[in-house]
Symmetry: C2
Subunit: 200 residues, 2 copies
């Protein structure tokens, strides 16, 4: 049986959107930062099956101070949705007061008012010059908002994984994401409406 | 409870070696080929923790015709070892008559005579011209030896994931790996010495 501490220690993040948005790369970098550099227990997972069709792609990271018995996400603490289909499909897997982070460039209909919306794709395109690094802008934001990773380690992990010659562009993207997330007042987001379990 | 059929249907592969050898990429391509293109159930996992230190890196793929309840590998059907440390550490996780595939360029001491050794790194360096694609030579071999993926789909999945401009090099590496593996007579490998459970 789990102690209360072990239960609360588990932290689950899902990166979701379309194939080609670099969500697996973002999840791998996040997992390596937390696991290899921060030294916590981490599992990073992709699952494919009949349910994975229809414009959705996902990659998960589960973090714990203790060994992880079940590596798939069960109840999300944080959901990144980089398109509408993923936002619609996965919103219901969030904990009552989990964080929903969407790319406001691509997600138009929000399922809740408790939302953090940042134009990741627009920032990548207009400020960094490559739409492709929207995943790294998002990763920076997720890194900060999760509060579960040392941000210097996140950059180290990113630099170890991106193709040579793209380091500066990717670092810049990550830092812009962190900067955007710093503007968010997480404590003052609306609370979830249905929230029987939320009070600790 | 599981039926016999469901148990036997599960197929587990671990890609292991050093960080920087591209094992996660190889595992992701394999998983996408089987999951997205072949349409089976697949989980692809990386785990990090205190035990993951010491020159070893690993990435796992679990394949099934049925939904996968537990996504980590429990007993390997196939182990790819791209360095000595990984070969030594993970050999014991193989099933009695599982397949051990090593990079003979980098692994010198073999823990068993039941082994498939192919010089992945040497082929990548000397024939393809880039040591970096040793992972894709290995992936081609694993694809064939596992018998669990359509090889055309494996190439499609690879082309969808590698950086632009490197498609031809990566395809060539994959095909060379498939070619090398075709030379192996898997049926006539020595049988495992300790093999109480092997007969079906």
């Amino acid at each position: 049986m789990k102690t209360q501490r072990e239960k609360h220690d588990r932290y689950e993040v899902r990166f979701s959107g379309s194939g080609g948005q670099g969500l697996i790369t973002a999840a791998v970098v996040f997992a390596e930062a937390v696991g290899v550099y921060d030294g916590k227990h981490v599992c990073q997972t992709q699952s494919y099956g009949p349910e994975a069709r229809g414009g959705k792609s996902k990659a998960e990271v589960v973090i714990s101070d203790y060994p992880i018995d079940y590596p798939k996400a069960l109840e999300l603490d944080l959901l990144l949705a980089m398109n509408q289909a993923a936002c619609d499909a996965y919103f219901f897997d969030l904990k009552a007061n989990g964080l929903l982070v969407v790319d406001s460039t691509l997600v138009e209909q929000y399922p809740t008012s408790r939302i953090i919306s940042i134009p990741f794709t627009q920032i990548a395109k207009e400020e960094i010059g490559r739409e492709l690094v929207a995943n790294m802008v998002a990763l920076g934001a997720i890194g900060l908002l999760s509060g579960r990773v040392d941000l210097a380690n996140l950059e180290t992990a990113l630099l170890a994984r991106v193709p040579k010659g793209t380091e500066e562009m990717n670092s810049k993207a990550l830092r812009r994401g962190i900067e955007e997330a710093k503007k968010i007042d997480v404590q003052n987001l609306p609370r979830a409406v249905m929230s029987e379990e939320e009070e600790l």
